[in-house]
């Protein structure tokens, strides 16, 4: 399955839910906001949201800024 995560294309062997993807990337759901194909995902649906090939995912977090 081909996923485009933060602009970078990555190949995954297995089917994944959003929750499983975050686990694979060692990211805590409290720390990042997930946007899937331009739709913001609330954390409570990470577990049931299955990813498909060609999905575009943005993972964002707060950083220092003025």
């Amino acid at each position: 399955m081909k996923l485009i995560i933060n602009g970078k294309t990555t190949e995954y062997q297995d089917n994944l839910t959003v929750q499983q993807l975050l686990q694979k990337l060692k990211l805590s759901p409290d720390q990042v906001v997930v946007e899937l194909n331009r739709q913001i995902l609330s954390p409570n649906i990470h577990v049931k949201t299955e990813l498909k090939s060609e999905d575009t995912i943005e993972l964002v977090q707060f950083v220092g800024g003025g």
Binding site: Q31, G65, G66
Partner: protein, 257 residues
């Protein structure tokens, strides 16, 4: 100091601080503490998947500071709205420092796209604090669109050049019915005092604190600058005149003529 009220919320500090460009999280936290600030800005960026940072939020006490996400990096209204929505989804209160800066050299805010984004975000229930050119007409339009403040720039972001837009900011202050926060370009405590003496309701600084050997001490200096300026404004500055006016009595000199 007298209280600052933004969108019905009360603050005891009139200094907002940014969290960017500090040499370490420790230096950032020390500056925040010494500034006395109750509102701190943050930005939203892509996670570096290969090398995730520790969470900035773990360093910022949510009981003590209102987190004000900015939309920095947005080049148009659409990008700004997207960033604001993402920030809200991250669990922040729906406050946003709206920032639309298509020009990478001077980072000047785009007035048309800023107004467009403000209209959308206000309708979506955001408390919008827009970074804007020091344009009194635009300030009115933003206020009419329902923004909680207006935030005219003193000088371009990160330039430390002070209140270069002074005459225009004076008009904005005279006309505004929402708090006026001078944002960007303030490089010295005297700049913040100047803005506050003019009647600005608050100032926002970041680079001036981050880009110094001792951010905590500089933050404390800005805190005093803001307080001094505010008190001078409330007390009322004396009139300026061309000729001297003696402070000491003009009678009783030790001479006869």
């Amino acid at each position: 100091m007298d209280q600052l009220i933004i969108a019905g919320r009360i603050f005891n500090s009139r200094l907002l601080v940014g969290t960017g460009k500090f040499s370490s999280n420790q230096a950032m936290v020390a500056a925040m503490e010494h500034s006395g600030s109750e509102i701190v800005t943050v930005a939203l960026r892509r996670v570096d998947i290969d090398n995730p940072d520790d969470s900035l939020l773990s360093h910022i006490d949510p009981e003590r500071y209102l987190l004000l996400p900015n939309t920095s990096g947005a080049r148009d209204a659409e990008e700004a709205v997207r960033l604001a929505r993402l920030a809200r989804a991250a669990g922040c209160e729906p406050w946003v420092k709206l920032e639309v800066t298509p020009d990478p050299y001077y980072l000047l805010p785009d007035p048309i796209e800023t107004l467009k984004a403000a209209e959308i975000l206000v309708k979506e229930g955001f408390v919008v604090l827009p970074y804007m050119p020091a344009d009194p007409v635009l300030a009115r339009h933003l206020e009419e669109a329902g923004t909680a403040t207006v935030m005219p720039l003193g000088a371009p972001i990160g330039t430390n050049r002070g209140v270069r837009t002074r005459d225009l900011i004076a008009i904005i202050i005279e006309q505004a019915n929402v708090p006026v926060i001078v944002d960007a370009g303030l490089g010295a405590p005297s700049h913040s005092a100047e803005a506050m003496e003019m009647g600005a309701d608050a100032v926002l600084v970041n680079t001036a604190l981050a880009d110094t050997a001792d951010p905590a001490m500089m933050a404390q200096a800005f805190r005093k600058g803001v307080e001094a300026g505010r008190e001078a404004y409330l007390a009322g500055l004396g009139a300026q005149r061309q000729q001297a006016e003696a402070s000491s009595p003009l009678t009783g000199f030790l001479r006869n003529n």
